[in-house]
Symmetry: C2
């Protein structure tokens, strides 16, 4: 651990009612100013001395007064410097440095009774995290928070990329890019660019027993925390001592620096699992896309997808091409009928009669292929939690240690039995569901089961603490291309995700569709990319579990480009962003965790692009064979998406890679160390 | 020369009144579509198949009809491919590739008499140039153009960086950044960014006997050529055969790619001078800044700057520190009185009595220092042209072969004697002055004299044809900081120039002020940068003649940072843009033309920045000693501009340079090859 000189300035008593504390980041880039103004608590952030977050309110409104909103004085404060490098068991990078200066502030409010509230600010060079603590105190044990007052008072009407909160589904929207002042209430991460080319992203870390924070614009450029409420209007049901999640603000000079900043992971608790040897990233295929195309069904019947025979076909395919797993959706009783409206009909230990789960798991074991289990809950939490231990044990006994979960359900529609015994309906993002998602992670961890959660709570870095929480959905995945009546995901979609949703954590986007137009199945739909861009997604979208989402026959018919999917790892030593423009283009290089090989992905929106990218990330003095998968010169996502050129070149760290991306196109490269 | 496959598509007769010709760039990135619509001529530009310039009008209105505006038919067209690499005698890069596909279109108009007009389009991967030719024809010899119809019909309301045309001075304004639809009439280069992150810049090349093209918004996103008129309202006085300047449109994926694209030079005629051995880039000091500070005067009197003694002091200083030249302003009769209003009083062969030009030039010769001559005309063209041969001969006889010229004069105020013998007043940018500036270049070339033109016509690449046309002003230089009542150039100014004005050619910005605040001389003014940013300007602003603009005593008092100015070359083998954001920041590396050393400059606007820049431009396998001049950790242009840290590090092409720029700060690095 390096020694850091800690700068701590206490400017006391600017006037009788004002007290100010300041902390500067280790590299003297950001500074955090905390102040009490007439008893109200505020923070502001300066970057190189320029105010980038203007004075922003802190505090809470409780159900029973007195509130944590004014009348504060500083009882005590202490500072601390921290510098540690820790290792991820798997991830987008192996080693992460956690280097910050911290200030811990104890506030008290001279109401009757006296109330205590603490604040912790961690100031990094690339961002700030802060959290509240309500410590044990005489006059407060169980309590209910009606509003969190945290503000993010931005310094200008920045350009913002956002999805709205409180809509019909979970997070599966196309991002909008508008001036800040055009947004109302939005999910985080909320990413912004100032007119001077500085990039910010607001999110939260370590969301464990608290509602999701959405952001509501309260006027001008000021955003305020808007906690997703319980059905009774209370935001948080809690008791002392408690700590909130960290409110995080990443700040960087380039959009690429947002991607390679690990503030959110750093603010989570270290790994709680002793043994992580059973946690393994990988690639999978599965019985899935054929349902989206309408060629098969989740429910029983003639076209039932999850049959013993079909499962064996996928197992054979995975074994042949050395893919790690096979997902099987629609294997269990409950899919017939309106399961989306009433998830209570799912049975998690009872397969359909045409799916011999013992035969399938045995066959998979022989072929050294993992079966990825599936729990679609339809949002029926009461039903799922009742079955959860048995459901997890059932899979464990079958040797299945990866489960994809699902919570397809709309709006404020998650049934709960409340304190009075009445059935009420909750949001996906409220404290009730946050608790549920966490419970499943913990129960799975006990049984050494990895998770891939669809319709999840947003990622806030829990994977650091529970590395079995591998990946999740929580954004518009590629399946929208199969059936969205509005035309699917436009080319820019995957050029926005890495700078927004993916700042929270990995995403199971399900890339790799090779039959882009599927005119036989869904003539009105298609995938809005070139073939080469599908390959680029394996690099620019990070996930420790990546699907090869298309049907085996479409890969068998295109074995040359499929080789990239076979070769690409899902666990990385290093990640380097080579160029980046939000919503426009992105080029990332990543080094395999288990070899000396590097991989590169580059992708663009609907505009063609050309770049010359230095390959200086390659080890100096070494030679590499570059296997380049690029758009053909006549490629175009609309008119000629299948045109792909695959070439080999010998390169070194001194080489320049010429990248030419077709409209809606991409490039993928494997750099194999040869000498 | 490489063989290029040329794609030429002729789509005839889409309808009876429409004829279309298409040419694609060598790398199939841009394509140019020419079409006749109901007899009117239009072009449009596609990039990767997406329309980036919508159909835009072509043609002329003449003083005597019939006009070149409609009734056209295509008489003939031919195509040609060109690929050649040529060498600059000096410049920002040694070798430039000129690679385009061309279409030459002969139009005829069946008026009575028949009129002929040709169009040439050169289509590059990074831009397009087009020009008109009015060939010899029966019914047209001398003629006058009242309006050029050329349009640039942009595809959106792009973000634009611009200075307004037809204002009080020449080009010395702060750039504005607004949506395209907020501008009225502007100078070129006009640089824009689309909402999808594509960068465009419109300018012209080879402006030799034609007025400057300004751009007027005619509604929506459409710009139209607005040629600067003669005093009688005529725009162009010309005769057949004639060729217009090239209208140029640079198009790139990054702002840095605009800087390293040499479209404008490529569209100029090759070097016309047989011997260029006498043309030498270099650095100079001079009797100049002390006048701006008010410590000395141009005119005679007690504080006269251009005395024999003072000149010798500068010569001694230049000799001691191996600087190439000494500029002496205010040496000749004419500076007393209102010279700005009446340049006719300047005498270009008569020194002031206290300036012994023979003694000074002899002293300079002994010390191996060049004297840079000075011709301030005050815009008195009649007076200057009358004396020009004698004035140039006078300097030649004294051994002076570099002249700085000046044309300080405001608005439409250049006196001319018109065809009727009456005195009229012309703009700096009209055809009259374009002819004058060209005449001086040619007269100087005959005598082997290099030019540094202040208050010039804008640069359009003439330096390719006449490499004695070294550098010029034509933008707000650093002298505004000495006396601008509005506070001088803000920190962003030199982060806009490289992407706008400098796309036309080099600029004599006069960087290197070390006494940034000069409270003794001008307490209300200052230079709005840190000291390190002054050094960075020598790299980010390209000029073959760079001034070390401050007073010798300020350098003598700061010899450590001054070493960078002593070391930095002004003639380059290569230029690489490492990062770039218009108005925000810029980092450039350049390789010395005469050694294996590299130099790097990085600068920011009023915001501090951090970057990690790979040094892959250095030769692989070699070691370099990096001499780094960087902002101190506590530096800030407003509060602490002098804080600078100078460190040495050994680096290779695999190293990453950590750049930390203070608000308004910069960094300069010399990479000296050691092994």
């Amino acid at each position: 651990m390096r020694l850091i000189i800690f700068i701590f300035v206490l400017l006391t008593l600017q006037n009788v009612c004002s007290q100010t504390l300041t902390v500067t980041s280790p590299g003297n880039i950001l500074s955090l100013k905390f102040e009490l103004k007439e008893g109200g608590a505020y923070y502001s952030i300066y970057r190189f001395g320029n105010e980038i977050i203007k004075p922003s309110r802190l505090g809470f409104i409780l159900k029973t007064s007195p509130n944590f909103d004014d009348g504060f004085s500083i009882k005590n404060s202490k500072t601390n410097s921290f510098d540690e490098t820790w290792t991820q068991p798997w991830g987008e990078v192996k080693d992460i440095r956690n280097n910050y200066n911290e200030i811990f502030i104890e506030l008290e409010k001279y109401s009757s009774p006296i109330r205590l509230m603490n604040l912790v600010f961690r100031v990094y060079d690339c961002g700030i995290g802060y959290r509240y603590e309500i410590p044990e105190q005489a006059a407060l044990s169980d309590f209910e928070i009606m509003d969190e007052l945290s503000e993010f008072n931005l310094s200008g009407n920045h350009s913002a990329w956002w999805i709205g909160a409180y809509q019909w589904n979970r997070y599966e929207y196309l991002y909008k890019n508008t001036p800040l002042q055009k947004l109302d209430t939005v999910h985080t991460p909320l990413t912004m660019e100032t007119k001077d080319g500085i990039f910010l992203s607001i999110h939260e870390a370590a969301l464990t027993d608290y509602p999701s924070m959405t952001l509501k614009r309260t006027g001008g450029n000021n955003l305020k925390a808007d906690l997703v409420p319980w059905s009774d209007g209370v935001r948080v049901k809690t008791s002392t001592p408690m700590k909130t999640p960290w409110r995080t603000i990443q700040i960087a000079d380039t959009p690429g620096d947002l991607i390679t900043d690990y503030l959110i992971l750093n603010l989570n608790e270290p790994n709680k699992l002793d043994d992580v040897s059973w946690i393994k990233p990988g690639k999978y295929v599965g019985i899935w896309w054929e349902m989206h195309l309408g060629k098969a069904t989740w429910g029983s019947g003639e076209r039932h997808g999850a049959t013993t025979e079909n499962a064996k076909k996928y197992i054979d395919f995975a074994a042949k091409y050395d893919l790690d797993g096979v997902l099987i959706e629609g294997w269990n009783i409950g899919w017939d009928g309106d399961w989306g409206a009433n998830g209570d009909i799912f049975n998690f230990t009872k397969p359909y009669p045409d799916f011999d789960i013992n035969e399938v798991t045995l066959y998979a074991k022989e072929k050294r292929v993992k079966i990825i289990g599936h729990h679609e809950t339809g949002g029926g939490i009461l039903n799922y939690e009742k079955q959860l231990p048995a459901a997890l044990d059932y899979y464990t006994e079958l040797g299945i240690n990866v489960i994809k979960t699902g919570y397809v359900n709309h709006g404020q529609n998650i049934k709960r039995v409340d304190e009075k015994g009445e059935t009420v309906k909750e949001w996906h993002h409220g404290q009730y569901m946050v608790r549920h998602y966490r419970k499943v992670v913990e129960e799975a961890a006990k049984r050494k089961i990895m998770l891939d959660v669809h319709e999840p709570i947003k990622p806030t870095g829990i994977r650091r603490t529970y590395p079995n929480m591998m990946t999740r959905e929580g954004a518009r995945g590629q399946e929208f291309d199969a059936w969205d009546p509005n035309g699917g995901n436009p080319p820019e979609h995957t050029l926005i995700l890495p700078f927004t949703r993916l700042l929270g954590g990995p995403m199971d986007f399900t890339p790799g569709i090779f039959n882009l137009t599927f005119n036989n199945e869904k003539p009105g739909n298609r995938v809005n990319t070139t073939l080469a861009k599908q390959l680029a997604h394996y690099i620019i979208i990070y996930s420790p579990l990546h699907m090869a989402a298309d049907l085996p026959e479409n890969y068998e018919a295109n074995l040359k480009p499929f080789k990239f999917i076979i070769d690409v790892p899902t666990d990385w030593q290093e990640t380097v962003v080579l160029n980046a423009s939000i919503g426009n283009y992105l080029t990332i290089a990543r080094k395999d965790r288990n070899s000396e090989d590097w991989f590169l992905g580059s992708a663009t929106d609907e505009h063609g692009r050309t770049f010359n990218v230095p390959l200086n990330f390659l080890t100096a003095g070494k030679k590499y064979l570059a296997e380049i998968y690029k758009d053909g010169e006549d490629a175009d996502w609309q008119t000629n998406p299948y045109s792909i050129e695959i070439v080999e070149e010998e390169v070194t760290g001194s080489s320049i890679l010429k990248i030419r991306l077709a409209p809606g196109g991409g490039m993928a490269v494997k750099f194999k160390l040869v000498d």
